[in-house]
Subunit: 214 residues, 2 copies
Amino acid sequence: MRLAELSRRSGVATATIKYYLREGLLPPGRQVNATTAEYDDEHLRRLRLVRAMIQVGGLPVATVREVLRNVDDESLGRTIRLGAALWALPQVPEPDEDDEYVRAARREADELLDRLGWSNARLLTTISPAYRSLVVAVAAFRRLGYDWDSELLVSYAELMHEAAALDLDFVETRPSEAEKVETAVLGAVLTEPILQALRRLAQEEESARRYGFE
Amino acid sequence: MRLAELSRRSGVATATIKYYLREGLLPPGRQVNATTAEYDDEHLRRLRLVRAMIQVGGLPVATVREVLRNVDDESLGRTIRLGAALWALPQVPEPDEDDEYVRAARREADELLDRLGWSNARLLTTISPAYRSLVVAVAAFRRLGYDWDSELLVSYAELMHEAAALDLDFVETRPSEAEKVETAVLGAVLTEPILQALRRLAQEEESARRYGFE
């Protein structure tokens, strides 16, 4: 397809597509003559991914480029490729290891992973931004004096494990390896707001069931 | 307790506490003489809540004041009081009703609530920011051309309903009505990053189980 059709089918303005091409977020089309290039379904898919990250996820162009480099690196195995793409997304800063709450939260997170039997996640704790996020979030909770018991954390983690299995089942329905990795990245950007909205709706529903509207 | 002890026990600097008092985010202490006021455990608890919203949740002072007004309004029933407090949190803007994807997402969200039997949440769709967030998130997903099937949305919603029941079970362990409402607000601000981190960790774990690390 020509640029005009790519624009029409993706809903992205031609000027924006040209900008993405210049920035290397979209591979060049096949040049058919000096002024015309042909694009295919892969361009369309990539354009949707870029648009999701920039317009929905609010990521800067440099971050998108970094994510795409990992998505496209076929030398990596799937777990690492998915991980590398997700890890390029914005992350929480390194926690302060001199902080007693951070140290306690790290112990609590490690115990949680052991209890859950998440031995693979346990192997990644030194490099995983998700683990770092958990430590930071648990430390924030504890610093405020909340004595949330660890049973609750286990229950939440088990629910999230079910959600993760659904995520990966969906990823596996995608036909090509490139689409699988793209879908995983999109899932991180797009399904988190959906889950958050569903959780708040479920809270409203459950609250009304328990306490009514009075 | 005096201001110095309130500061020590909360970990919040005295200058910051004085600022919160001036801004009306913290009720005044009991004046014992011209220069000294006494504070109690309720001040300590409120201070932790304010700190969570400002320092962890990143909310502006005006929003915190609005949330607290709802938390403190004893004329409201619990569902409405919880809702009103949560609804003062930052929300997604109104979706554009002229947009075909928004209209389709609204139909999809309504069908989802019907299928789930969330009749209470269904009653709140005209006013609930959570419902609006869901419509916006689903529209963003569809606009990108993703044909995520509605079964998956039902499964995610059922998991989030289990999470919401855990949330409310925890809220109910709090002794007073004021603490229940405060805990619900804190849950919205503090447990969302925990769930998000757990989901990403679970994805790493599940991905490594399915595909290994190669």
